[in-house]
Symmetry: C2
Subunit: 206 residues, 2 copies
């Protein structure tokens, strides 16, 4: 019905399970394209350039900003993160729904520049559950976990700027819900102005 | 998650199949309450007071307006139609999602007074298809059909004030889509302010 893809921004507390949800959704449904961010942070064990992130130097990142190759960028714990423009727009033009997994500063910039973007915020069912998941992941020391929890408290202040909240209780249910919320955007009146315009002309011509 | 029901307004061209869609959705899912409008128009064959409409006199309708028993009312082809307030609010407070099948004037008034209401517009896939369905229904003469089509042309101008457009190609698919769009409202940030507030306090207390 609408040919243009949806731009869906997924944010959420560290430990809320955004990555797992997105992978589950992309495994099941194939109309999505996952935007890969550029970052100046070092790769973690097992991460691959061009898959989790494009790992670039600070100089390269600066150049990308200057050449307007990024639709948003933000700083987070001394590193830069940004969304390369070309891939996103190309995929949307091809009718793919593009998923951006970015943090809250970036999400708000996207909404400012692209009001039709859909902003989803993923949260565990409670703060206690968030803490349990961060500890259970076992990849970070307690100091880092504590920092993340305090950061979460700050980030929570931004939730009200999002469109929908997704409570990640079980991956399968929540991934399905995320899919439905994104697909619903294709039925927005604003996504169907061509169809509506045609209907209007046809009705006038009867 | 959110205890309050959703207020969903369903409009659409006469002949678009709104009534059939709503019945299909209510047959399948049971968290809905269908608001019954009051009207001054005469019952059609087979219509029952309190089921399709509350059929009332002009004097009674006037009294309902004066006593603020209606959340909206509008005139359509010399008759009045209105939505009784008490039933809608009671059902929503009980957590039911309330469906109002009303025409465009009424829908816009609802949106003005209740910005959180969800406005859905049902349309056949094309103007030609709309004409075919009106003729096929066989309950009206050609003069009435012609009037309806011209009315549809006027109504089409209002579609842009709706939130979503539903293309009624097959009843089952479209009723399912209507259900999903309404359920998505429960995930709106604005429908979850209590949960978000609690999450914020819990994170601050960690």
């Amino acid at each position: 019905m609408s040919d243009q893809g949806i731009l869906a921004v997924v944010s959420g507390f560290s430990g809320a399970g955004k990555g797992t949800l997105i992978r589950a959704m992309l495994d099941k449904y194939h109309n999505y394209a996952l935007s890969v961010s550029a970052t100046t942070r070092a790769p973690r064990e097992g991460e691959e350039d061009g898959r989790e992130y494009f790992f670039v130097s600070r100089e390269k990142f600066q150049q990308m900003i200057e050449e307007e190759q990024l639709i948003e960028h933000a700083q987070y714990v001394n590193n830069y993160y940004g969304t390369p423009r070309q891939y996103v727009f190309q995929q949307m033009a091809d009718g793919k729904d593009v998923i951006l997994e970015i943090e809250i500063q970036g999400a708000l910039k996207i909404k400012e520049r692209f009001p039709e973007a859909l902003l989803l915020f993923v949260t565990p069912p409670s703060a206690d559950e968030l803490k349990r998941r961060l500890i259970g992941r076992g990849t970070e020391n307690l100091d880092v976990i504590d920092k993340r929890l305090h950061r979460a408290a700050a980030e929570a202040e931004g939730i009200n700027s999002y469109d929908y909240i997704l409570i990640n209780d079980t991956v399968e249910r929540c991934a399905e819900e995320m899919h439905r919320l994104i697909q619903a955007q294709h039925r927005k009146v604003s996504a169907n102005l061509d169809f509506i315009g045609q209907m209007k002309s046809e009705l006038k011509a009867i």
